[in-house]
């Protein structure tokens, strides 16, 4: 389903056409099972068919060492890997580890920034899926309880 949809998108069909596609096809787009998984392994198995990823130093992950506020943790990801299809953010110690999965279309560079929530100190893993496999890197972000901060 995922592949079929990407094929359609790569063919450059307008969004209006996609919106007209059967509901089931669109529903497949938001991977509900992966998002409801309670462990990183489960989430990756559901999302990519395997939790096996190749560690790669071609992925750059910018996250703070100590999060100022676990509710807003800036994250920037970029990679020099080619033919990137998706980029996923997995916060291992969150109750639902999969935070986001970005589908990168041709012409779009694999350079993404966002802000995520972290319930506690955790490794943040980024998985980049290309046409040749799944690659990953991870960094620990410490989340602390505030002192006063009014």
């Amino acid at each position: 389903m995922q592949i079929g949809r990407r094929f359609v998108l790569k063919a450059g069909v307008a969004l209006a056409t996609i919106a007209a596609l059967p509901r089931t096809l669109l529903a497949a787009a938001w991977p509900a099972d992966a998002f409801s998984a309670k462990t990183a392994t489960e989430a990756l198995n559901s999302l990519l068919g395997s939790d096996q990823t190749t560690p790669s130093d071609q992925i750059k992950l910018d996250v703070p060492v100590i999060a100022e506020n676990g509710a807003v943790v800036p994250i920037t990801i970029s990679t020099t890997l080619s033919n990137v299809e998706t980029i996923s953010i997995v916060v291992e110690n969150n109750p639902r580890p999969l935070a986001a999965m970005f589908e990168i279309m041709p012409g779009t560079l694999p350079e993404i920034s966002s802000r995520i929530k972290m319930g506690e100190t955790s490794d943040v893993m980024v998985v980049v899926k290309t046409d040749s496999g799944s690659y990953s890197t991870s960094k620990q972000v410490k989340v602390t309880i505030g002192g006063c901060g009014g």
Binding site: A99, M105, G107, I112, I116
Partner: protein, 104 residues
């Protein structure tokens, strides 16, 4: 009325950097209402789509682990002034919002 989505785009050469910020509570479903003590139901954007001239550029599939009032940025090639950029989202409760802008 002020839109609930904002876009900033910066073209340099054939590269464009797109930043977007939107108002959404991104409720986890685990937070209690401070007044009533009742759990606030989960309410989050599930899918966010960016298109350039009606071609899909980026789809972000999201969970509640994206911060309140979500922010995203990305870069794309082949952009030029006059291109139409559109951001749209749907959330788990059927809510939607979108914003269209012309690159300058």
């Amino acid at each position: 009325m002020a839109s609930n989505i904002k876009i900033k785009a910066k073209i340099s050469g054939d590269l464009v950097e797109i930043k977007s910020l939107m108002i959404h509570p991104m409720e986890t479903g685990a937070r209690k209402d401070p007044e009533t003590g009742a759990l606030v139901p989960q309410h989050h954007i599930t899918q966010l789509t960016f298109t350039h001239n009606e071609q899909v550029a980026l789809i972000a599939n999201l969970s509640t682990a994206i911060s309140k009032n979500p922010y995203f940025s990305y870069k794309a090639r082949g952009a030029k002034a006059g291109d139409v950029l559109k951001v749209s989202w749907v959330d788990n409760l059927g809510g939607t919002d979108e914003l269209e802008t012309v690159l300058k």
